[in-house]
């Protein structure tokens, strides 16, 4: 390995209006390493990587790559220099095939697409080599999120790269898919590639990295070798204080039933039965978790409860009144909060401001509106209050929410839903994209809600999240509920078996 760094970022600055996203950041990446990037939401990780791959131009500073200073006008320039990035939000055209996506923008604009066979062969060969299981003729929109991600990674490999940047690739993956991705990263490094990996999950970072850099407020504050640190220390470097992994809990027994679900069944958007006769209750002052490998009906369950998907059979009763089959607006009006899985689809309206997003469900109610007119001052104050309490990193309440980093958008959604003081809160993926400092805070807030008598249903694929705050955990498999467990970490094996669809009790050890 050469002594000079493979990629050197020197004192880069980037501002968006008054917001400083990169404040003189410097970083060195060595050839053939997996270098992880950690940092709180809005620390500037995505922006920094966008500058390396030509999406965003730095205001000041140098990027030296393979010993040469470079300046990319577009991602295509970066790809020519063999730098490729897989973005937090995929860059795939949904109605085209995988192969068509790969040749998009290649060759002269006037050329006739002729040698598709050759492209297909090349994709198949690469797919086999890295065991990615990508079919070149599949239409992208028919693929699951995990598959689309493999398509994205293979796209970068297809274009031939030496440096691969992955921005929060595991946020949307199941644990199995995550394992697979981490293995792939190691394989790529064995093939002589270099990988930069962004993640909020410390265990993943500890598992695959050679070195880890921590960003704070637009700067790299620490770079450490993986052998010389541990998760606890990393957390402290990120947040600047100790992060508690265990939260204290109030042992108060739960109150009366708030939400009752009886024999609920519904179909996915494609018409296939997804939830098959599910029954459970959620009481005031308890958090009920639903664990499961994603794709076992959790998405449809949460959509059906919130009125976004028609119910086939069964009943949903909230506070003694049936809400089955009501439309989302009617359910919203019944003291029912929803933190959705896909915030861009069901949680926020990207081009609208933070203020407008915080009153999405209540724009016509007092005190936000009187006599059909919006009260700008009240709305702004309310939004500023939420921003402050949940530490949403933003310029002001009038900024479009699209300009916020992913984790900060999520924080605002959580803040909004809790501020409505609902009796029941439906949460699907509470901490998706949120950094560990904010995660602790958000989970504490959920516990506070529980202690003040709210009923909470927490659907999650993150077992840590479930163990940390749930009172009991239901396991969903194949659209049904297979069993119930207390949040006892020692029974992790049992939980794993249930999640895999295995109903028998594990044989007693010894």
């Amino acid at each position: 390995m050469s002594t000079r760094p493979f990629l050197r970022i020197d004192n880069i600055r980037k501002r968006f209006g008054p917001i400083v996203a990169s404040d003189g950041v410097s970083l060195e990446i060595e050839e053939g390493e997996i270098h992880s990037l950690l940092g709180e939401n809005g620390a500037g990780k995505s922006v920094l990587m966008s500058m390396i791959c030509g999406m965003v131009r730095p205001d000041e500073g140098d990027i030296v790559y393979k010993g040469q200073p470079v300046s990319f006008a577009s991602p295509r320039d970066a790809i020519r220099q063999r730098i490729g990035m897989v973005h937090q939000h995929f860059m795939l055209v949904p109605n085209l095939t995988v192969a068509e996506n790969y040749i998009l923008g290649q060759g002269s604009a006037l050329s006739v697409i002729s040698d598709m066979d050759k492209v297909h062969r090349k994709i198949r060969a690469l797919s086999e080599r890295y065991a990615l299981d990508v079919r070149p003729d599949a239409i992208v929109e028919d693929l699951s999120v995990g598959e689309q991600q493999r398509v994205e990674i293979l796209k970068v490999l297809f274009h031939g790269i030496d440096l691969l940047i992955l921005d929060e690739p595991t946020a949307v993956l199941t644990p199995q898919e995550t394992d697979r991705l981490l293995c792939l990263m190691s394989d790529l490094v064995k093939d002589g590639k270099t990988v930069v990996f962004i993640s909020h999950k410390l265990d993943e970072v500890m598992r695959v990295s050679n070195r880890i850099s921590v960003m704070r407020d637009g700067r790299v504050v620490h770079t450490v070798k993986v052998g010389e640190t541990n998760a606890r220390e990393l957390a402290r470097m990120m947040v600047g204080r100790d992060v508690r992994m265990e939260l204290p809990r109030n042992p108060e027994p739960p109150g009366p039933i708030v939400l009752s679900v009886e024999n609920l069944a519904c179909r996915a958007e494609n018409g296939i039965p997804a939830v098959r006769g599910v029954s459970f209750d959620v009481r005031a002052g308890e958090i009920v978790g639903i664990a499961g490998v994603s794709g076992n009906g959790q998405t449809e369950l949460s959509l059906a409860l919130s009125g976004l998907l028609p119910v086939d059979t069964g009943r949903v009763v909230l506070n003694g009144k049936e809400i089955t089959g009501l439309d989302p607006a009617a359910i919203n009006a019944r003291s029912f909060s929803h933190i959705p899985e896909d915030r861009h689809k069901h949680g926020i309206v990207l081009p609208l401001s933070l203020s407008e997003n915080t009153i999405l469900q209540r724009y016509d109610q007092k005190p936000f509106a009187t006599g059909g007119m919006l009260n700008g001052r009240v709305i702004a104050e309310h939004t500023r209050d939420l921003i402050k309490r949940f530490r949403v990193k933003s310029r002001d309440e009038n900024q479009p929410i699209a300009a916020l980093s992913g984790g900060n958008q999520q924080k605002l959604v959580v803040a909004r839903e809790l501020a409505r003081n609902p009796d029941f809160i439906l949460v699907n993926q509470l901490t998706r994209g949120i950094d560990i400092g904010a995660m602790e805070f958000v989970m504490e807030e959920m516990l506070k809600q529980r202690d003040s008598g709210r009923a909470i249903l927490l659907i999650s694929t993150e077992l840590e999240e479930l163990f940390a705050i749930c009172d009991r955990i239901l396991v969903m498999f194949h659209g049904g509920i297979l069993g119930e467990l207390p949040p006892d970490r020692t029974r992790l094996d049992e939980l794993g078996l249930l999640m895999a669809g295995n109903k028998e009790q594990p044989a007693p050890a010894g």
């Binding site: 991602p75 295509r76 860059m91 949904p94 085209l96 998009l104 923008g105 060759g107 604009a109 697409i113």
Partner: protein, 310 residues
């Protein structure tokens, strides 16, 4: 009606349908390009009028029909350039600009026509049906399919060519991607505004050609507002055709059939429906189509939205 008469009626109907569908075919194929790239150009009506007028003006000056058609295309594209500048460069609302261009097209052509041509009252020699040996003389089939002028025949070529460009070239692939996920195109290193300009110009060029057919291949005169809603019907055709050029061809034929039917029924003394009702037929069918096929399933997902680079 006896069988012979019915057959003759049908043959004439089909022949007329294709002729009457021709402007729709051109305009809707063009609009498919534009919408696939995410640009909804409701200014088709005005653009077609400009094409009709330019075609007429050029042909009456030179007596040359191909030159007239070319002028129609050029006029349409010039108009499209204005639309593209406001919607793509300035990022103004596409509907508002389109509506403004419709008004401009109607006003401008009426003004120019009245100023320079109305007093002359002179028509032009329009494109004549080509006689294809043997085929044109077939009973019934000849009347239905083989007594058209070259412009009408060229609609088949246009549909095939458009399909090849859209699905078999790098340009077409990128164009389709621009309407679905412009950022992906940007990241792939192609200019989104560039492709949108190109799509609008192709679209308005075709609309201009469709308009020019009205003056050069159909009636021999320019008449104010002579497109009478064809530009809007073309918009409906695109939806019904699910944004496919071949689909646009056949759906346009269907609408052509309504036009032809309405004309021929008016001529039948035995039918007592008021002629206004018959005249409304194509428009009623448009509304019905739009209601029945309202599903947005196949619509480009960024249709009507300007693209913001960051």
């Amino acid at each position: 009606m006896d069988d012979m008469m019915l057959l003759t009626f049908l043959a004439t109907l089909v022949g007329a349908a294709w002729r009457l569908a021709t402007p729709l075919i051109f305009a809707s194929i063009g609009e498919v390009f534009s919408e696939r790239a995410g640009v909804l150009n409701i200014g088709l009506e005005g653009t077609m009028l400009v094409g009709a007028f330019c075609g007429f003006a050029a042909a009456s000056a030179t007596g040359n029909i191909p030159l007239g058609l070319l002028a129609g295309v050029a006029g349409g594209m010039l108009f499209g350039l204005v639309f593209a500048f406001f919607t793509i460069t300035i990022k103004a609302d596409q509907i508002v600009v389109g509506a403004a261009l419709n008004l401009l097209g109607m006003g401008l052509t009426a003004f120019l026509f009245r100023t320079y041509y109305v007093s002359t009252g002179k028509g032009i020699d329009i494109a004549q049906p080509v006689h294809i040996p043997w085929l044109s003389d077939l009973p019934f089939l000849g009347e239905a399919f083989f007594r058209q002028n070259l412009i009408v025949y060229s609609t088949i070529l246009a549909a095939i060519l458009a399909t090849l460009v859209l699905y078999r070239t790098s340009f077409g692939l990128t164009l389709r991607a621009v309407g679905e996920h412009p950022k992906a195109v940007d990241v792939a290193g192609r200019s989104v505004p560039g492709y949108r300009y190109a799509a609008v110009l192709v679209g308005t060029g075709f609309a201009g050609l469709g308009g020019a057919f009205l003056t050069l291949g159909h009636s021999n005169q320019f008449v104010e507002g002579m497109t009478s809603g064809r530009g809007f019907i073309a918009l409906a055709v695109v939806v019904f055709a699910r944004w496919s050029p071949i689909g646009a061809f056949f759906v346009s034929l269907l609408f052509g059939l309504f036009y032809a039917l309405q004309l021929m029924l008016q001529a039948q003394a035995s039918i007592v429906v008021p002629y206004q009702v018959l005249q409304a037929l194509p428009y009623i069918m448009t509304i019905i189509t739009l209601v029945v096929f309202r599903g947005k399933g196949a619509a480009p997902s960024k249709l009507g939205q300007p693209y913001e680079m960051r």
